[in-house]
Amino acid sequence: MKTLLLVLLSLVLLPGAGAQGKYSTRAGLISFFSATPIEDIEARSTQANGVLDLNTGQLAFSVPMKSFVFRRTLMQEHFNENYVESDKFPRSTFAGTVLNFQPGSLHQGGPQSVVVEGDLTIHGVKRRVKVPGTLELKDDYLLISAKFSVAPADYDIEIPALVRENIAKSVAVTVSFACSPTAPLQATNTR
């Protein structure tokens, strides 16, 4: 029994031994798109923060809601004021784990399909989600990309009857990060 525990514990701690460090970015791209009979709604932010720990396969990202740029300025105002309430909930975040994580295969080149499970928080509502994505190591950069859909109703984003037809039930979100290797946490914290 003791041996078994030891083996399990070492399994938990082992990845730390082969430290490959963290990859992060402060200029990640997140965009979303929805099509309705009246018009397409599209917005993008290039100010997402993201980090992926290659040791543990854990990743997190965070995006300021006010950084989303819409084609129509009025839409942008409505998005922030009426729907996601950016003053109250300034950021959307995700914290999760790569389920079928194989750091080794990253080094063989080419994109690796993965599934990530974690907590997506939008408009102050936290939900457990599972999304498919790809990871790829390329020229010192770790490229993370994912596509998934978000239903505003799931995150208590209220859409009044008057404009319900103009806003899709489900919004397609695209995440695309190019992360570079990060110095250990201790070093960044001493500033």
Binding site: L4, L8, N49, V51, A60, L74, E77, V163, T188
Partner: protein, 297 residues
């Protein structure tokens, strides 16, 4: 043995899962801490007011780059004009205007009021934007200047063109105190090239104040008021006062209000308001704006 192995495995799995959940939250916290400490872009306050106008006043808001705003402003006659005039609804003055966002901060506009057949043109520039973050700014300041030309035919004697002009200069200083409450102060100078009497002032100074309180996301109460600084104009005229509601739908803002001023331009309502609000000289009116995206970003 098998059972032991199973329980051990379960324990291990539980440990592993707990460890993972904690670690991913730590990762997020680390990320957030870094984002807070290195946040470069200031967080600008948005939507201090719903529209580019409050009631009579301009607000600090400008339509964004490439947005064309079509604005219809209406003031009926006075409420106390009696049933014969359908309490003012038989009579109306109108202002139509277009406002175009040259950039996110600079707007040019043109307008036409039926009152004295006045044309106007204006520029509005967001000089400072309220923000939090790295370089926090407590207020938004928008500079406004307009020129108005009356095209009314004067008889005996016909007036030369230069006497038909009036100019307005304003600093609109606003702060959004909470998501619901916004307050704006408006030091104002109206210069009129020509005034009716020798006693009247060509330069009229006033201090305006306006507020907005949201009731729901799409409904707000508003008020604005102009205090005329002491002088002949202040002695002869009234301070313009308005109270109203803003109703926002998709691309429209409907503003319904009551005011003692019938003019819808600064050079008309600041120095030339005669109605006594509390005596029933109240004009019911509305502003409706519609935004068109001419050039997307």
């Amino acid at each position: 043995m098998f059972r032991r192995f199973l329980s051990g495995g379960l324990l291990g799995a539980a440990l592993l899962a707990g460890h993972a959940a904690q670690a991913q939250d730590e990762l997020l916290q680390e990320l957030e801490a870094k984002a807070d400490s290195t946040q470069a872009a200031p967080n600008f306050t948005q939507a201090t007011f719903k529209g580019t106008h409050i009631i009579n006043s301009q607000s600090v808001e400008t339509p964004g780059q490439g947005t064309l705003l079509f604005l219809i402003q209406h003031r009926f006659g006075t409420l106390n004009s009696g049933a014969y005039n359908f309490f003012g609804l038989d009579q109306a003055v109108l202002r139509l205007s277009f406002e175009y966002g040259l950039t996110d901060r600079l707007t040019a506009g043109i307008g036409r009021s039926s009152q004295e057949k006045t044309f106007d043109g204006f520029l509005k520039y967001k000089a400072l934007r309220q923000s939090t973050g790295a370089h926090a700014m407590p207020v938004s300041v928008t500079l406004f200047s307009s020129a108005a030309l009356t095209s009314l035919r004067f008889r005996e004697p016909e007036r030369p063109a230069r006497t038909r002009w009036a100019y307005t200069y304003q600093a609109l200083i606003a702060r959004k105190f909470s998501p619901g409450l916004s307050v704006q102060l408006m030091p104002t100078l109206v210069h009129r090239n020509f005034v009716d009497t020798r006693r009247d002032q060509n330069d009229v100074y006033a201090l305006g104040a306006a507020f907005r309180q949201k009731i729901t996301k799409r409904l707000a109460l508003t008020a604005d008021y102009y205090y005329l600084l002491p002088g002949a104009t202040a002695d002869d005229m009234r301070n313009a006062l308005g109270a109203g509601v803003d109703i926002e739908t998709g691309g429209h803002v409907f503003q319904l209000h009551v005011t003692n001023a019938q003019g819808m331009m600064e050079s008309l309502f600041v120095p030339r308001t005669t109605g006594n609000f509390f005596d029933g000289d109240i004009y019911f009116g509305f502003n409706v704006s519609r935004a068109f995206t001419v050039k997307g970003r």
